[in-house]
């Protein structure tokens, strides 16, 4: 991979809660403009890895490089500028419950731009329209459904035209149709915004539809088990555990019966 093409580089990252090590020595490179999926069983540390990448939790060891620059080595002000280039969609949407949807989208704009309020409102409306929530600007998060909250969270994540979008389990709690629509939306956004996308997921259908590249975290060895395009991994991986994960265990069962 050409170094110009590498948007994110995870270097020897060790994740820990206190003295309890969740994952050790994670290494990965994410290509500019690609959709990168962090896979693994429930509770393996996928979301923890994400938290370490977006600055919510300090890694026990190692670093994350964005455009070749260390993220954890930055001082506070520089890190804030780097954070401006991120858009994060949390599992539950994490909308600010005391604000309307439009205000939710407009707040990051107010923080980082000096646009007049009317312009921010208009951009907020546009972002909400992009995710199909035109007309819901003045609703509070408690007044809309879970799927809508998630889409509104996506609109907010895109507020600042981020270079990198992070998604924590985007399809969790959505029905298959909604989840498929969200996949299409992610693909379209990537293509139109040119953003790099990092997704934490274990929804195989969605992974095969959108992922360009992936890593599989393994609870047993507590590190990366496999890296590559998930479809290729499914077809060509020699590691039975990797194939078992990507085929919902069907491979392992077939292997067990002669």
């Amino acid at each position: 991979m050409n170094t110009d093409e590498v948007k994110i580089e995870i270097q020897h990252l060790t994740l820990a809660y206190g003295s309890y090590v969740v994952m050790r020595d994670i290494n990965a490179r994410v290509k500019r403009g690609s959709i990168f999926v962090i896979m693994g069983e429930s509770g393996v540390g996928k979301s923890t890895l994400l938290r370490n990448m977006i600055g919510l939790q300090h890694p026990a060891e190692g670093d994350v490089l964005y455009d070749g620059r260390s993220f954890w080595g930055l001082d506070e002000e520089a890190r804030r500028l780097q954070l401006r280039k991120f858009g994060v969609l949390f599992q539950s949407g994490a909308l600010w419950s005391s604000m309307t949807l439009a205000e939710n989208v407009a707040l990051p704009l107010a923080e980082y731009t000096s646009w007049p309020a009317a312009d921010r409102q208009e951009v907020g409306r546009l972002k909400l329209a992009l995710v199909g929530l035109d007309g819901f600007e003045d609703y509070y998060p408690a007044e809309i459904s879970g799927g809508m909250r998630k889409r509104a969270g996506l609109a907010r994540a895109m507020a600042l035209d981020p270079e990198i979008l992070f998604f924590d389990e985007p399809s969790a709690g959505l029905d298959p149709i909604l989840s498929r629509n969200l996949d299409q939306l992610i693909l379209e956004l990537r293509d139109s915004l040119g953003a790099t996308v990092v997704i934490v997921s274990h929804e195989l259908a969605s992974i095969f539809t959108i992922a360009d590249d992936s890593i599989l975290l393994d609870a047993e060895s507590r590190t990366v088990r496999a890296q590559g395009n998930p479809k290729e991994l499914r077809e060509h991986s020699t590691d039975p555990k990797v194939r078992a994960f990507l085929t919902r265990g069907e491979f392992a069962e077939r292997g067990a019966t002669p």
């Binding site: 919510l56 991120f86 949390f90 599992q91 539950s92 994490a94 909308l95 707040l107 990051p108």
Partner: protein, 373 residues
């Protein structure tokens, strides 16, 4: 349900199960099987006959399961083909999946010294957290004064409205009652010395120096401090605070600072209000119970209250406002990620807040004594 165990051959035990399997008396019918297994020549095989069984439920399956386990413990072979098809399947499902051996909780009793050490470390970390939060707040306040904070006055005004005007009713009621009580106590004791006029002094000084600001502080702690902890705790559960951080917005400046500023700005007003109401309470008792005219009472009150006492009350009130906001927000930000943790944070906010108010009032008393205020 009827259970009859008989020997089919000398080493095969056949259990006849008939009637309605839903109407078993208890699982203790197992005893009959155990009895039959241990009596007479050793049994090699256990079989079931359920031809006369009309219905069964989960308890029946559990019963058969226990029979199977008991038989296995005695090296007795179990033939399940006499059982209803569904029972057979459920048993196979339950036995096929290996027991999650590591799921059983092992309670390790830690030695006393280890617990003591862990408590001490936790206590020390708690204290550090207290000061870290204080430092973060002071830095945020510095940013605000230099006009660089991510601070929205709109939020502060909203909190001011919720903590100020909306609290007037309860502040008035409590302080009126406190004024009444002070005057009652004073009336009973001072009349004995013929000094009932000094009830005005007692009520006036006690109110402006101590009771006005303390009672208001405690009311706000229960009312507003708890609300702050619950709000911030819920925002934490909902990942809203994480969302702020990922946008590079400091939760301290954005959430804590408006609350702190609002309370510190509102407290002086609430204190003055509380003082007036409390003195009115004392006035009512004195004028109605004692032989004091209203003019005399008011004049006496005005003479008794020194400006410095009044200002001391206001300063203390402002400080208590800071304490309430500080403890409420601190506990809210420290909250865990569950509903129970939010409840705990709220409780801790009120407990810490009230303790801090009383303790710091003690410090104020000592200081004022030393400084002759």
């Amino acid at each position: 349900m009827e259970l009859v165990a008989e020997r089919k051959t000398p080493d095969v035990l056949l259990a006849h199960l008939s009637g309605n399997g839903r109407q078993m008396s208890t699982l203790s019918e197992l005893e009959a099987i155990r009895h039959a297994l241990s009596e007479g020549p050793p049994v090699k095989s256990l079989e079931f006959d359920t031809a006369g069984l009309s219905a069964w439920d989960s308890r029946f399956v559990a019963f058969i399961g226990q029979c199977v386990e008991m038989a296995r413990g005695r090296d007795v072979h179990v033939r399940c083909d006499g059982l209803p098809e569904g029972v057979h399947r459920l048993l196979r499902l339950a036995h096929l999946l290996p027991e999650n051996a590591d799921a059983h909780r092992v309670v390790v009793k830690e030695p006393f010294l280890q617990r003591l050490g862990e408590r001490t470390i936790a206590g020390w970390e708690g204290t550090l957290g207290l000061f870290t939060f204080l430092g973060q707040n002071l830095m945020a306040l510095g940013n605000l004064l230099r006009g660089r904070a991510q601070f929205q006055w709109g939020d502060a005004f909203l909190v001011m409205e919720q903590t100020g005007p909306a609290a007037l009713g309860i502040v008035a009621m409590i302080n009126f009652l406190v004024g009444l009580i002070l005057a009652f106590v004073g009336a009973i004791e001072l009349t004995k010395f013929g000094a009932s006029l000094y009830v005005a002094d007692l009520v006036g000084i006690a109110t402006v120096r101590e009771m006005g600001c303390i009672m208001t502080g405690i009311i706000l702690c229960g009312r507003t401090g708890a609300a702050f902890a619950a709000q911030l705790g819920t925002m934490k559960v909902n990942e809203e605070i994480n969302a702020l951080e990922t946008f590079g917005i400091s939760p301290i400046e954005f959430l804590v600072l408006p609350r702190m500023v609002a309370l510190m700005l509102m407290m002086p007003f609430l204190c003055v209000f509380a003082d007036l109401i409390s003195i009115a309470g004392g006035f009512c008792v004195s004028v109605s119970m004692l032989d004091i005219t209203s003019t005399v009472y008011l004049n006496r009150t005005i003479q008794a209250i020194e400006l410095k006492s009044f200002l001391l009350g206001i300063v203390k009130g402002t400080f208590f406002g800071f304490l309430v906001a500080y403890t409420g927000c601190l506990r809210g930000m420290q909250s865990g990620y569950t509903a129970a943790a939010v409840g705990q944070a709220t409780t801790r906010a009120v407990v810490t807040g009230i303790s801090a108010i009383i303790a710091s009032d003690g410090v104020f008393a000592v200081l004022c004594n030393g400084l002759h205020i």
